[in-house]
């Protein structure tokens, strides 16, 4: 699984971090998403899919 984030779309909601803390973080200064792991392991796949689904700005794309 490969994860791509669109910083320009991100509204700094942080819902992705709530869903998958090992994969997403937020910048201290403006809260924009930080991708910690571009290729998360299979055991994180469900959490990452949830993160993409809950992102209100549609800023997370998953390429299987």
């Amino acid at each position: 699984m490969k994860v791509v984030v669109d910083e320009e779309k991100c509204v700094a909601a942080g819902q992705c971090v709530n869903a998958a803390m090992d994969v997403f973080d937020q910048r201290e200064e403006d809260g924009i998403v930080v991708l910690l792991d571009e290729n998360p392991s299979d055991d994180l796949a469900d959490d990452v899919r949830t993160a993409a689904a809950v992102c209100p700005a549609l800023a997370i794309r998953i390429e299987e």
Binding site: A12, A13, G14, N18, G31, V54, P56, A57
Partner: protein, 401 residues
């Protein structure tokens, strides 16, 4: 209990309303492995699109309208659902579990999801005047943008979240903007006196005229076109464009004869069920929030998604009570506000991080000793990190009144 059709096969699901919450329900059903037929019925002619950019990037012109699309055609097609656009639902038969549409379609289903959102409230007579707008749909947004580009003087009626955002966006487009409404400051109802005071300063600095604290009684016009907004003080604010953003009403008129309980939305139990096999989701749903012990209806983007996931789980028999910590954001100029939880009007508010005057802070809202909400102003991460305090507050036994 999961649903099956009469023969025990995978159930047929009908979603009424083809926007954020309706689409997310479908996606969640498929992601959870539901293989039965799904139909999505929408009254708008467009494929599902996102509304928050309509008062921000699409209205300002920073984004082409296409960018607000919720999904690409390919992604929609891969859902293997039937999408019917441009045909409103006009009636629901609860017992027979079927929906009739304006064009005469009868759509029976084993599970029906009501996702019809809300419609803007209007001022009496506003439809008869050109230059007066509401903002809910993409078509509304493009019509308003056209008038903003051609106009010079905008009055925004309504000092809530939407009105404040539109004022900010129009100001950055260079219009002369007046924001009016009955409360003392922008978003006073949503964020309380302290933060709305900071918002008032921000708007004033950016050149928006605030004419707050007086009600609007009507519109003035000439030759079929709006010329101004009349206040309760009899003063008229001159305008060539007016936006009316005075709240919204759940889109439940098509359910009037259904027998469902309608009271400021479709009334649901704690699992978003209005009746056996009938669910409501998103802006239209008013459900029993077990953590708060009362009915709640939320009009925000995150709830549309989260509640849709909860409803999909419920349809598939994996549901549990839906008890979210609400979350919304708003962008005005360079200010990004993030609100977690509830900010009751009588809450005690403390700045717990950052600095109010620097316009970078986190405010904590407490009511009856419990943290009910957190607001971040240009401190999104720091605000989110305090979300747990709200969860803890929800879990604590409710105070008795």
């Amino acid at each position: 209990m999961s649903i099956d059709d009469d023969a025990g096969g995978p159930a047929r699901v009908l979603v009424v309303g083809a926007s954020a919450s309706g689409l997310t329900t479908v996606e969640a059903l498929r992601r959870k492995g539901h293989a039965g037929p799904i139909t999505v019925l929408g009254d708008e002619p467009h494929a599902p699109y996102d509304r928050p950019p309509l008062s921000k990037q699409v209205l300002s012109g920073a984004w082409e309208p296409e960018r607000a699309a919720l999904r690409t055609r390919d992604v929609l097609a891969a859902l293997d659902a039937e999408f019917v656009f441009g045909d409103p639902a006009v009636a629901l038969d609860v017992v027979g579990r079927s929906v009739r549409t304006e064009s005469g379609r009868e759509l029976p289903a084993d599970a029906i999801v009501i996702a019809t959102g809300v419609r803007p409230r209007q001022l009496p007579g506003q439809q008869d005047l050109a230059g007066v707008h509401v903002l809910r749909t993409l078509d509304d947004c493009l019509a308003l943008r056209g008038d903003l580009l051609a106009g010079s003087r905008l009055v925004v009626v309504g000092e809530g979240v939407l009105g404040s955002e539109i004022a900010a966006t129009a100001r950055t487009l260079g219009l002369d903007v007046t924001l009016t409404g009955p409360l003392a400051a922008p978003m006073a109802l949503q964020v309380g006196p302290l933060v709305s005071g900071v918002l008032a300063e921000l708007h004033t600095e950016r050149g928006v005229k605030l004419r707050l604290g007086t009600g609007v009684v009507g519109l003035t016009g000439e030759g079929g076109r709006v010329t101004g907004v009349r206040l309760a003080t009899d003063e008229v604010l001159p305008a060539d464009v007016v936006v009316v953003a005075i709240g919204a009403i759940p889109a439940t008129e098509w359910l009037a004869d259904s027998g469902l309980e309608l009271d400021n939305g479709v009334v649901c139990d704690s699992r978003c069920r209005a009746e056996e096999g009938i669910y409501a989701v998103g802006d239209v749903a008013r459900w029993h929030h077990e953590g708060l012990g009362r009915l709640v209806r939320l009009e925000n983007r995150t709830n549309a998604t989260e509640q849709a996931m909860a409803v999909a789980a419920e349809i598939l028999g994996e549901g549990r009570p839906y008890t979210p910590v609400p979350y919304f954001w708003t962008d005005q100029y360079d200010a990004k506000l993030q609100v977690h939880g509830f900010l009751p009007a009588d809450a005690e508010v403390d700045v717990v991080e950052g600095d109010l005057t620097a316009r970078r802070f986190v405010a904590r809202y407490r009511s009856e000793g419990r943290v009910t909400g957190v607001l971040g102003w240009n401190m999104p991460k720091q605000a989110r990190l305090r979300r747990q305090e709200i969860v803890d507050g929800l879990d604590a036994p409710a105070p008795t009144h």
